[in-house]
């Protein structure tokens, strides 16, 4: 069993991260129903093992960029859920002071270069962060998370090329949930993602994104390659997207049977619990479940109680210094 390769501490860490993401996202869905969350959110539920399996190899000094579906990456990278929840509620105590919202949560102290509302927008930025690491000789790496839809943006193609030609210490993690918004990936993508990477000379693997241990293993290899000067890699991760594209999407383009099967057969948390056999660990997991419930409750209460940003925030921080 692969679980023997991860220490108890690391197993609990992995579980805590994935479960936090799951509970957080499901709670967001509920809160959206109250009408108190402005705008839209794009929920990561179902994809947890991808973010966590990768981010377990990273420190605060490594970088990640994310997508519009960014809550999972934020949490996996260590962003504080109280700040995140407040940001999603648009409050002054949010990670970005309520100025960015769900699609622009960032925490540079944690190396989180931001969720991004532009598909594939983060890929070039990640090249830049990787360039900084390379030029300053820190051995840090940068991860560009992106979806299957992003693979067809010019920005992605350019970034793959640039990353390879400059041998940047980065990994492209392509989270393929089968859909770019409401359109199936098969309908819009020619060739294969790994084939495309190979075209650039970039080592690429495909992996089942519902298996934390497989993601962890494959990610570890790619990240080590990057740290050791071996240049970029691409990981094509297959994940299920539990909700619609956005939280208000009725998701009618998938059949009820598909969606039910997805939850039953492709739940990374269920699989994790099953893989972790020993009883004491199961107890520890349950304890973690309770902690997370409480933490998310508190995050929501705190977010609801917090004030909206002051009007002065409308025009502050456009520049460091304008005049």
């Amino acid at each position: 069993m692969f679980s023997q390769h991860l220490s108890r501490e690391r197993l609990l860490e992995a579980y805590r991260a994935m479960q936090t993401i799951r509970v957080f996202e499901e709670r967001i869905m509920i809160e959206m129903g109250t009408g108190d969350i402005p705008g839209n959110t794009h929920l990561y539920a179902g994809q947890e093992a991808s973010a966590v399996g990768v981010c377990m190899h990273l420190s605060d000094e490594d970088y990640i960029s994310s997508t519009h579906r960014g809550h999972g990456h934020c949490i996996a990278k260590g962003c504080d859920i109280v700040g995140m929840m407040a940001e999603i509620f648009g409050k002054a105590t949010g990670t970005c002071g309520g100025k960015g919202g769900s699609q622009h949560i960032a925490d540079l102290r944690k190396g989180m270069l931001g969720a991004n509302g532009i598909v594939a927008g983060g890929a070039p930025i990640t090249c830049g962060a990787a360039l900084t690491a390379k030029l300053t000789g820190t051995k840090h790496v940068a991860i560009a998370f992106a979806g299957d839809g992003a693979m067809n943006e010019g920005a992605m193609a350019e970034s793959l090329n640039l990353a390879k030609i400059w041998m940047l210490p980065m990994v492209f993690v392509i989270e393929d949930n089968g859909f770019g918004e409401a359109t199936a990936n098969e309908f819009v993508s020619a060739g294969t993602f790994t084939g495309r990477a190979a075209g650039y000379g970039i080592p690429a693997t495909e992996v089942d994104g519902t298996d934390l241990f497989k993601v962890y293993s494959v990610a570890g290899e790619a990240i080590e390659r990057a740290r050791n000067g071996g240049g970029p890699s691409l990981i094509h991760v297959h994940v299920p997207r539990y909700y619609g594209h956005y939280s208000g999407d009725p998701d009618s383009y998938r059949t009820p049977e598909e969606k039910k099967a997805m939850r039953l057969e492709q739940d990374c948390l269920t699989k994790f619990r099953a893989a972790v056999e020993s009883q004491s660990l199961q107890d520890a997991l349950k304890a973690i479940d309770e902690e997370i419930e409480q933490a998310v409750n508190e995050a929501v209460s705190a977010a609801r109680a917090a004030p909206l940003p002051p009007l002065s925030a409308l025009t502050s921080d456009v520049y460091v210094k304008y005049l």
Binding site: G98, L108, P124, G128, A129, T132, N161, L162, V320, L323
Partner: protein, 333 residues
């Protein structure tokens, strides 16, 4: 002090600042020229010779010739800036901004604001602009009205060698994203430039020439056009004041308002197309804040509402010239 060209002044600034601050890096197409080839290295020193010698002085890690991938390398500049470097990315022609506009306007311009003030993006995007070289529609635009429009960007347009060096040093040291626009026709312009380092602040207009009868506001190469018009007007007894705002964002509103109050007649000369351009922008400001001081309508002398043509006579007719300025002045005196 020495008499050097605008091109040399920019080159001096780049050398000085790259020597002073190891965080400054450069990326762009053919910044050196000859990369990966068998002949001479630094063969071009940039498409207009501005970056000559930097490869030799600072090496290929810090002076990078890129693939033709504006989105990737401008975005990489963004990511490097967010993570502590001070990159200078070059767009060979500002017209190519269309290819990477998302990185400029949706990412770079907005990081600091979206991230609640917790990010800094201290980068410079240098680009050439402007008409006169018969490079036609896709290599000749002004674009600064577009950049000026976006909050989060600063836009700088030096009109002479002294300002070119000082404004570029300021741009590199500035903690905000700066779009630095160099007029192609000014690269050979010669002027007195101090040898050492100095910065020219943003949002500070320069009074190029004193005068009381009419105020001419001009940018980039149009400053020379305004000066030529002012000289000709002087021989006819009309005294024209010429002001160069130098930066459109931030804009030195105080100086423009102060001189409009005193003089009351204004002509704005702008090489960009007229709709939503700087001439319109400044007209609105002056009409709003100086209405009672105005003795005549504000006149705008701009390019027409058309792309830049290729044929030499047509391109020459496209660009505002001294006669057009004089005509506008006479219509309000």
């Amino acid at each position: 002090m020495a008499k050097i060209s605008y091109r040399q002044a920019l080159n001096d600034a780049l050398h000085l600042e790259m020597a002073r601050d190891p965080k400054v890096i450069m990326m762009g197409e053919d910044l050196t020229g000859g990369a990966g080839a068998n002949g001479v290295k630094d063969a071009w020193g940039g498409p207009f010779g501005v970056t000559r010698g930097l490869l030799g002085a600072f090496g290929p890690e810090r002076v990078r010739d890129t693939p033709i991938s504006e989105t990737a390398f401008v975005g990489a500049a963004a990511g490097a800036a967010l993570t502590g470097m001070r990159p200078i990315a070059e767009l060979m022609f500002v017209d190519f901004a269309g290819v990477c506009l998302d990185q400029i306007v949706n990412q770079i311009a907005k990081f600091r604001y979206m991230f609640g003030g917790h990010a800094r993006t201290p980068l410079v995007i240098r680009a050439t602009f402007g008409a006169g070289t018969r490079s036609a529609a896709q290599h000749t635009q002004a674009f600064y009205p577009v950049f000026t429009h976006f909050p989060g960007l600063k836009v700088v347009i030096p009109s002479n060698p002294y300002d070119a060096k000082g404004l570029l040093l300021q741009a590199i040291r500035d903690d905000d994203p700066v779009i630095f626009l160099e007029h192609k026709m000014l690269y050979d312009m010669v002027g007195e430039v101090p040898d050492g380092a100095y910065t020219v602040p943003f949002g500070e207009a320069r009074v190029v020439r004193d005068g009381n009868d009419v105020l001419l506001i001009a940018f980039g190469r149009m400053v020379q056009v305004a000066e030529e018009a002012a000289r000709k007007l002087a021989s006819e007894g009309v005294s024209a004041c010429v002001i160069d705002p130098r930066t459109t964002s931030p804009l030195d509103e105080d100086t423009l308002l102060e001189f409009t109050e005193e003089i009351g007649r204004v002509v704005i000369i702008d090489e960009a197309n007229p709709r939503c351009g700087m001439a319109a922008d400044i007209s609105a400001l002056l009409a709003d804040k100086c209405f009672h001081a105005l003795k005549a309508p504000i006149k705008m002398v701009t390019a027409p509402h058309s792309p830049v043509p290729y044929a030499p006579n047509l391109e020459d007719a496209y660009v505002p010239n001294a006669d057009a300025v004089i005509k506008a002045v006479k219509s309000i005196i």
